[in-house]
Symmetry: none
Subunit: 413 residues, 2 copies
Amino acid sequence: VTEARSAHPIAEILAIGTELLLGEIVDTNSAYLARELADLGINVYWISQVGDNPGRLRQAFTSALARADLIVSTGGLGPTEDDQTREAIAAVLGETPTVDPALEQNLRMRFEAMGRRMPEKNIKQAWLIPSAEPIPNPNGTAPGWWVTTGSKHIAAMPGVPHEMYAMWCQYVRPRVEQLADSSLVVRVVKTFGLGESAVEERLGELVRSANPTVATYAKPDGVHVRVAASASTREEAEALLEPVVHEIYALLGDEIYGEGDETLAAVVGKLLRAHSATVATAESITAGLVASYLTDVPGSSEYVRGGFVAYTVEAKREFGVPVDVLERHGIVSAATAEALAEAARRRFQSDYGLGTTGVAGPANHDDQPPGTIYVAVAGPSASRSIRLNRLGSRDVIKHFAAMAAIDLLRRVL
Amino acid sequence: VTEARSAHPIAEILAIGTELLLGEIVDTNSAYLARELADLGINVYWISQVGDNPGRLRQAFTSALARADLIVSTGGLGPTEDDQTREAIAAVLGETPTVDPALEQNLRMRFEAMGRRMPEKNIKQAWLIPSAEPIPNPNGTAPGWWVTTGSKHIAAMPGVPHEMYAMWCQYVRPRVEQLADSSLVVRVVKTFGLGESAVEERLGELVRSANPTVATYAKPDGVHVRVAASASTREEAEALLEPVVHEIYALLGDEIYGEGDETLAAVVGKLLRAHSATVATAESITAGLVASYLTDVPGSSEYVRGGFVAYTVEAKREFGVPVDVLERHGIVSAATAEALAEAARRRFQSDYGLGTTGVAGPANHDDQPPGTIYVAVAGPSASRSIRLNRLGSRDVIKHFAAMAAIDLLRRVL
């Protein structure tokens, strides 16, 4: 049994970038990775932010290698002189980087595909050292490094969050899973519509359970319930987990829209496919965000017919909202949301129509305060609308309204 | 001149709490403190998150004292056994905590005022060591510690953000100001359209400048150029900064859309207002995201007329894209992007129209690979379109296409 394969490997997270030390950005990467590593049963004892400084970077990798089995770093893999992560790892291991021909070819092809000349300094993104294997970067030019030195490992990933997430999920996490052999099984059940304390109240005594643990987290896509069981084998852990997850489904019922990586839009897409149904949107407060979220799902062109952003009264009228609805009920009303949904359905000849209206703020509109939201679904048999309230900035209110519209369609389906 | 009063004192931030290492909360305290310290001209070289573990806490304070003049810590001052910050500092300094009678009285009075009996374990919140002075906590029971050891200082504050902010602003920041006698001034110039290495290439020798320093960062809203100058007064720092910022504007010209907190959509909104002009959208690949970004700006209802999501061929045709354009040039083409922009302008009677088309992936579309993007602007005098390529997931491609469309409107305006 080597050290790195011990039951509880110790990990250290290094976030690299001077902007972190200046407080210009909050290091959300490290919190994400800490959570992921915890899910895998790997203990994180230290997280550090360090600047783009060769000496301090070497110092950071040296002390991390001394006290951890696995170092997960983000940042410093760009093409510029600031980016010193490769240099630091090579120096600490006493190795010399060379240009890897396959990586170089890949890099030049990426620039060619973008129709751009590769600046010569980018060549260091094709560097490797003998102890490093490249990790593909689905969302950018800089490959990561998976470094093995003795029983220890370094996963060096980019700092741009969407590049890091994709690289972690597709390539790094599966390798890290193999380092951990104690069995922690985690399920994340996702709800939309209830607040965190309401979810917790519904779960009752469950949140005090010790194994599995049950915890709630308020997230932009709703309240998540995280259930984690640990045992000496995966099977035993799953046996502990299963009845609790079952109970959670019984307690939360229809509030649950999915699990794990499932997004609300993907769940609704699946339901639409199952019904061979199509959808269209007519958006006021969300101004295109509902259509955009629906089309974040691959293959959504099969069921999204189109959409309309009716930001002005004239646009609403022109799109097909009856004048008397606008005049009698006001722009910010359930009737207008329903009329928008109906018009979307009619104009795009879709099975379902989604409509949104409300006040994004900061000023009142139609005598209603910011955060007032109406969303509606029009379907083959009937329309349904709900009124919601949300405090926050414009983008928070818009996001919540868009999610609420998509969730209402889920409930109707 | 003592070490701590040197022109550039070095600070280290320690965020204490096991929940940080589990990723259960994001460490926003450290980013806030880093920004504050940068504003005071104090260099932060390290930020670390460490758990509630006596041994690792002592190790963290020991190494921080060895490499920094000032340690700012948050967390670990609560009354429970988990809270080990006082114990760790005392151990590192070789001192023994004793109950301070004045602090004890204060503590008991606070509990009395709340109508609660003080649990006896809370008494450690009245501890002091010879090297520590108490720092009042306006928002909680736990006082902080201001520790002086030789020329070095430790400011130990609570981890609860609103307690930390109040203690920092009222009591700690004024003391830290006295340690710093240099002034750091920072400007962040934001560009869209060029890659990070291209921006750096344009900046040439500037990126090697020592004071001010010039560094580039790739962000979701483009490449940022950060310029930072330090001097003994704010005025001198600004005098160093000004000519360099001027040169950056000369070198990057039109690639620059704004500075600091300005967003691309807000800048375009300002330009539209200045021209008393309105805009409308017709989106295929971005599916509503352009309209949504434009309306993230407060007051955007004054210049955003509306939008159309033309996700299918029929929807494009119905909205006003001529059939022969679609047939001759294909859906994914500059001509279709321009026809969409024209149709948006015509249908919504706006001064400008924005059109987008392309392939979000993962499959090819219209014989073109994912990441192929065309965006167009139609204006009172002419249309303009550009072709772009972007690798990545659907949401990355959509985001980039939406930003590129808004940026093209900026350039036209």
